[in-house]
C-alpha cells in the first residue's frame, strides 16, 4: 500500500485520549481560522472541534508518515514534508506555522503521547496491513468456509497434532526472536536437500507453538542436524526407531524456562516440547521427510515427534555435557544425539560408584541387542540421586565412562551366532576375541531428572561413527 497523499499547508496528527492534544485543541481551532491546516485524528473524527478533520482511525497516514507521538505538526509543500514539530512547544509551532500569539494561556511546552500507529499491541498488525513485512514465503489463502486447523492437516503440514496457524503477524513476531535476517540461509535440509531460510524455520516454529525467544535454539538445532556428521538423511530413512534428541546447555536453559528436573523427558514444559517439535516440522515441511516416504522407521519413537531437554548443570557432579564434547564453558549450546525413547534403569541399593557403574553396564549392554557390539552409541542420563553417589566418591565423568568401557569388554564366545541359543550375533571368527560394546566416544553421560528416585535412563542411539550419525554440538546464536 502506498502512502496516502498529504494536503499542502499544515498537517496535524492528534488523538482525543491524549491530554496534550486536548490542551492544544483551541490552538488547532485558532490555526484553522488563520492558516491552511488539516488535522488527522487517530481516535475520534469529531475531535478537535472547529478544525477540518480527516479520520485516520485506520492509521494509514499516521503509519506511513512515521508519526511517533501526538500532537505532531508537519509543514507540507508540494505533497512533501518540509518541517516537523513533536509535542506542544509554542515557539516551534509558531515558527512552523509562520504565525505568532498561539495559545497565550498555555504552558510554554508540554510533551505529547505515543501515536496509536506505534502502539506495541498494533504495530505488527499495521506492518502486515501496510505490507511492510520482510516475508518472502508463498501466501496460502484459505477458502472462506475452510477451518484453518483442518486446512493445515489437509495440506500435510502437521505431525499429527494441531498446529498454531502461521499467520503473517505470528511469523513476523517469531522473527523478533533472532537478530538474523529472515532471508539468511540456515541449512540445506534433507531428504529433499531444500535450502532453508531463517524465515522458514520461523514459520515452522510458529506452528510448533514456540515463543520467539526459543527461535535461536531451534535455528541451532536445524544447523546441527543438517551436517554431514549428524546425517539427518540416514537417521530419517533408517528402519530403526531413532530421531534427533536435543540436549540444551548453558544460560539459555534458564532464560527460556526449560525443564532439566522432574519429568525431564515428559510433558508440560513449553520450551522442551515445542523446540523439539519445531525441528521435526522443519525436517517434515522444508526437507520433505515424512513417515512412509523417506522416513522408513519400522516403529519410530518419541524423538520423531519431539525430544528436547536441558541438562541439570547446577546439580551435576560434572561439567556440562557440551563442555565434555569440546564446547566453550558457559556457552549456550545444543547437542544433537540420534536417539530412541528413554528406558529406565532402577538401582535403589547401590551406594558406591563401582556397584552403580556395574548396574549401568549390564543395562547398557542390552542396547539394541546384548549380542551386538561396536555398532551403536548410547546416552546415559544420570538422575540426581545416582549422580550424588559419583559426586561423593569423587568420580569424574571420564572415570565413569572409562569404567563402563572396561566393564563392557565382552568375550566373543558370548557374542557369536548361536550363543545362548540365539541366532542373532557376530560371525564365528570373533569367538576368541574380546570386543567392546561401544566405540571409545560412544557413551555420552548427561545429568538430569527429578530429585527423588534412584533411577537413571538410557537413550539408545542408532548406527554410530561414519556410517550413521555422530553427536553434534552447536553454539546457540542470537
Amino acid at each position: 500500500m502506498t502512502a496516502p497523499p498529504l494536503p499542502d499547508g499544515i498537517v496535524a496528527f492528534v488523538k482525543r485520549e491524549c491530554p496534550t492534544c486536548e490542551l492544544v485543541a483551541p490552538v488547532l481551532a485558532d490555526l484553522t481560522a488563520r492558516t491552511q491546516i488539516c488535522v488527522y485524528s487517530q481516535d475520534d473524527p469529531s475531535f478537535p472541534a472547529g478544525a477540518e478533520v480527516v479520520d485516520d482511525a485506520g492509521l494509514a497516514a499516521s503509519w506511513h508518515y512515521r508519526i511517533e507521538a501526538v500532537p505532531t505538526l508537519l509543514r507540507v509543500e508540494g505533497g512533501v514534508e518540509k518541517e516537523r514539530a513533536v509535542g506542544w512547544h509554542r515557539g516551534e509551532w509558531e515558527e512552523l506555522c509562520r504565525v505568532s500569539g498561539l495559545g497565550p494561556d498555555l504552558p510554554e511546552t508540554r510533551p505529547g503521547c505515543g501515536s496509536l500507529s506505534v502502539d506495541p499491541d498494533r504495530a505488527l498488525e499495521l506492518a502486515v496491513r501496510f505490507g511492510a513485512t520482510p516475508l518472502r514465503s508463498r501466501r496460502v489463502e484459505l477458502a472462506s468456509r475452510e477451518d484453518e486447523f483442518e486446512a493445515m492437516f489437509a495440506r500435510g503440514w502437521s505431525d499429527g497434532l494441531p498446529l498454531v496457524p502461521p499467520t503473517e503477524e505470528r511469523v513476523v513476531a517469531m522473527l523478533e526472536g533472532t537478530t538474523r535476517a529472515p532471508d539468511e540461509l540456515v541449512a540445506v535440509v534433507p531428504p529433499d536437500l531444500a535450502p532453508c531460510t531463517v524465515e522458514k524455520v520461523a514459520v515452522n516454529a510458529v506452528m510448533a507453538g514456540c515463543l520467539p525467544e526459543f527461535l535461536p535454539v531451534v535455528l541451532a538445532a536445524v544447523e546441527a542436524v543438517c551436517t554431514d556428521e549428524f546425517n539427518m538423511h540416514g537417521l530419517l530413512a533408517t528402519t530403526m526407531p531413532s530421531g534427533p534428541v536435543i540436549v540444551v546447555n548453558g544460560p539459555v536453559r534458564r532464560a527460556i524456562g526449560m525443564n532439566s528436573g522432574k519429568n525431564v523427558f515428559g510433558q508440560g514444559n513449553r520450551a522442551n516440547s515445542t523446540i523439539g517439535r519445531a525441528l521435526q516440522l522443519v525436517v517434515r515441511n522444508v526437507g520433505g521427510g515424512r513417515p512412509g516416504d523417506v522416513d522408513r522407521a519400522a516403529h519410530g519413537g518419541p524423538a520423531k515427534l519431539s525430544f528436547c531437554f536441558a541438562e541439570d548443570e547446577e546439580g551435576s557432579p560434572w561439567e556440562p555435557l557440551s563442555a565434555s564434547l569440546g564446547a566453550a564453558a558457559g556457552a549456550s549450546t545444543v547437542t544433537l544425539f540420534p536417539g530412541e525413547g528413554p528406558r529406565n534403569v532402577v538401582d535403589q541399593l547401590s551406594r558406591d560408584p563401582e556397584s552403580l557403574a556395574r548396574s549401568f553396564a549390564v543395562n547398557l549392554r542390552s542396547v539394541h541387542h546384548p549380542k551386538l557390539v561396536m555398532a551403536f552409541d548410547a546416552m546415559l542420563a544420570v538422575g540426581p540421586e545416582h549422580g550424588r553417589i559419583f559426586r561423593e566418591a569423587g568420580w569424574s565423568r571420564e572415570r565413569l565412562t572409562g569404567r563402563l568401557h572396561e566393564l563392557l569388554q565382552i568375550p566373543g564366545s558370548q557374542l557369536v551366532r548361536g550363543a545362548d541359543g540365539i541366532a542373532e550375533g557376530l560371525p564365528e571368527q570373533v569367538r576368541d576375541a574380546t570386543l567392546p560394546k561401544f566405540r571409545p566416544d560412544g557413551i555420552l553421560v548427561v545429568h538430569c531428572g527429578g530429585g527423588a528416585g534412584l533411577f537413571s535412563c538410557i537413550i539408545a542411539g542408532w548406527v554410530g561413527s561414519g556410517v550413521g550419525s555422530q553427536p553434534v554440538v552447536r553454539e546457540i546464536g542470537t
Binding site: 514465503s137 484453518e148 503440514w157 511469523v171 535440509v189 535450502p195 546425517n231 540416514g234 548406527v463 556410517v467
Partner: protein, 92 residues
C-alpha cells in the same frame, strides 16, 4: 476477511520428469549394477550380472560408500555417462 497463512514448506514444485524410453533390446547395451552396500546385495547383483551377460549386455558394477547416505554426485554422474540403464540392489 480473507485468512492467509505463510507456507511452511520448501515451495519446491518439482515438475514430473520424463522417463527415458525403455531399451528395445539389451544386446550391446551397458547396464550398471549399483550395490548400495547393504549385506548380501552383491549376491543378488552377481546373479543379475550373469543373466544380463547371457542376454548380450555389457555390465558395469558400482557401489555406494554407505547405504545410509545418497550416492555421491560423481558416482551418479559416472553411472549416467557410462550406462544405458541401471539396476539398484536393495538387499539385507
Amino acid at each position: 476477511m480473507t485468512r492467509v497463512l505463510i507456507d511452511p514448506t520448501s515451495e519446491l514444485n518439482p515438475t514430473a520428469r520424463e522417463r527415458l524410453p525403455r531399451l528395445a533390446s539389451l544386446d550391446g547395451r551397458t547396464v550398471g549394477l549399483l550395490d548400495i552396500s547393504k549385506p548380501r546385495g552383491d549376491l543378488f547383483l552377481d546373479r543379475l550380472e550373469q543373466r544380463l551377460r547371457e542376454r548380450g549386455a555389457e555390465v558395469k558394477r558400482f557401489k555406494k560408500p554407505t547405504f545410509t547416505k545418497p550416492a555421491p554426485v560423481d558416482l551418479r554422474q559416472q553411472i549416467a555417462t557410462s550406462c544405458d540403464a541401471v539396476i539398484e540392489a536393495l538387499a539385507d
